[in-house]
Amino acid sequence: MTTPTPMADPSALLDTYTLNMGPQHPSTHGVLRLVLTLRGERLMKVDPVIGYGHRGHEKMAENRTYAQFLPNTSRQDYLSGAIYNFAWCEAVEKLGALAVPERALVARVILAEFNRIASHLLWVGAFLLDLGGWTPSLYTWDDREAILFLLESVTGSRLTYCTGRFGGLSRDLDADFPARARVVLRKLKDRWQEYEDLIEGNVIFVQRATGVGVFTKAQCQSYGVTGANLRAAGVPYDVRKVEPYGAYPRFQFDIPTRTESDAFARYWVRIQEMKQSVRILEQALEQLPDGPVLAEKGLGSKKRLRLPAGTLYYAVESARGAYGILLVSEGGTEPWRAKFRTPSYPNLAVLQDVMPGMMMADAVAVLGSVDIIIPEIDR
């Protein structure tokens, strides 16, 4: 860009004006405010204002037992709640060296991958809505609904799942779950071509999404951008592959990447990721072992679980990128400290560097393309 950036030259701000995007703007998908400094239609500076939904999850974690914190986990990222719920269980299991039955490990993968597809489907619909495309969201909502029914039959929840327990799951998959799951997978596989025709065949969408909001690898390194946003920048980083956890090492899947790093590349990577999740699910349903799903009933709650003193960092791949938990125990029944490294946090922060220089109309396309969830930023 030839426009001077305010970082390099403060006088560049002299004939500018300020526009508040949010906190109630529909395209911020939650309570986020972007203070945009503009010259004409061009963005000079972007200041995200966050914290509207700060609930103090990290303080809450210090004031309740490990088991009592379980419901909080899925309220950080409400779109991939199962993944966060299992991450908390796995972190506690790791620090406490607790065993997990084989069936629970595979069942967690099944629930987590369905959750990932549901999250991506909602994102595709919402992203297209941001850009003025109504129709795709009707299709993605329909598919997501089928997954939510499936997850509801196991977890009892549609959004804030809390099925994870230390040492397994609170509920088993029903006998007919694999059959019902295969019906949903069949439906999804029939959809991919329809999505491609509907979305990628739309000239307006392709032109609005192509070439905007390019993240450089240096920016990704400096901010810690992860997930589909990083993979769209050509880096095949996925915690499921780089640091395999749970039952993931036993399944075959690829990491789709793209090098353009624009909004379209991020869209494309997420579509491919859903196909890879379907691949994982087909293998997991095939390999689902028999046996118990819980090592010991009431391990977390009844016995007032105590973990040995120590510090653990545990990372998983959520629908938005690398989710990390820093868990510190001093040997008590409550965590001494729990810090959540949520992927949307850096994914939003990087926009301060990426957005200056672009046109105002592209701001919505770029903000929509990074797939941020405000509650996990505010925690």
């Binding site: 966050i50 914290g51 700060h54 103090g56 990290e58 303080k59 210090e62 790791k94 620090l95 920016q219 990704c220 390194q221 400096s222 901010y223 810690g224 990083l230 880096v235 095949p236 980083y237 780089v242 640091e243 003193a309 120590g310 510090t311 653990l312 960092y313 545990y314 990372a315 690398a322 990390g324 820093l326 510190v328 001494w336 400290r337 810090k339 490294r341 946090y345 850096p346 922060a349 990087v350 560097d353 505010d378 925690r379």
Partner: protein, 165 residues
């Protein structure tokens, strides 16, 4: 050397590693070391040059046991299961060096540690509230903090209930 072992060897050769103030181990990382605060920026520059990305920074209240705050910085690689943790002990009322000049994301993480714990960072360009309302004076994540003072935005206890008429 870009492996975690190589990074640690370099830290030790340069004398940047500090004695561990607590015997508790850190797991889930390839290597973790306590770093002397004055060498943290140099250590972060070395780990960045080796290709690591900024993963997280967490502050832990260790006032009672160690008389200060523990900052845990973690850095990881995109291409290998490698994670290094730099732990720093910041004395109460002391200040930690800011990593904002090395990794841009440190800006938000350090603002968070400042508003929630009161840890000061030298060299931070904009040390102000991030998650809490501007002007908040309490430090909610301190262990000594138990109940929040009444919110200035909540008048439900002081104002009369609205009438239906």
């Amino acid at each position: 050397m870009t492996t975690p072992a190589g990074i640690v060897a370099r830290l030790e050769a340069n004398g940047w590693v500090a004695a561990a103030p607590t015997p508790h181990p850190m797991t889930g990382v390839s290597e973790s070391r306590w770093i002397a605060p004055e060498h943290l920026v140099a250590a972060a520059e070395a780990v960045k040059a080796a290709g690591y990305f900024y993963e997280s920074m967490s502050c832990v209240d260790r006032l009672e046991a160690l008389g200060g705050f523990e900052l845990v910085n973690t850095f990881a690689r995109w291409d290998a299961p490698a994670r290094v943790a730099f732990r720093v002990l910041v004395p109460k009322d002391g200040a930690a060096p800011s990593l904002t000049g090395v990794y841009a994301m440190a800006e938000w993480n350090e603002r968070e540690a400042w508003e929630l714990y009161g840890v000061a960072f030298t060299g931070h360009p904009n040390l102000t509230w991030l998650l809490l309302p501007e002007g908040t004076e309490y430090r909610p994540l301190l262990k000594s903090f138990t109940a929040p003072p009444p919110s200035p935005y909540d008048d439900s206890l002081t104002s009369p209930a609205p009438s239906d008429g």
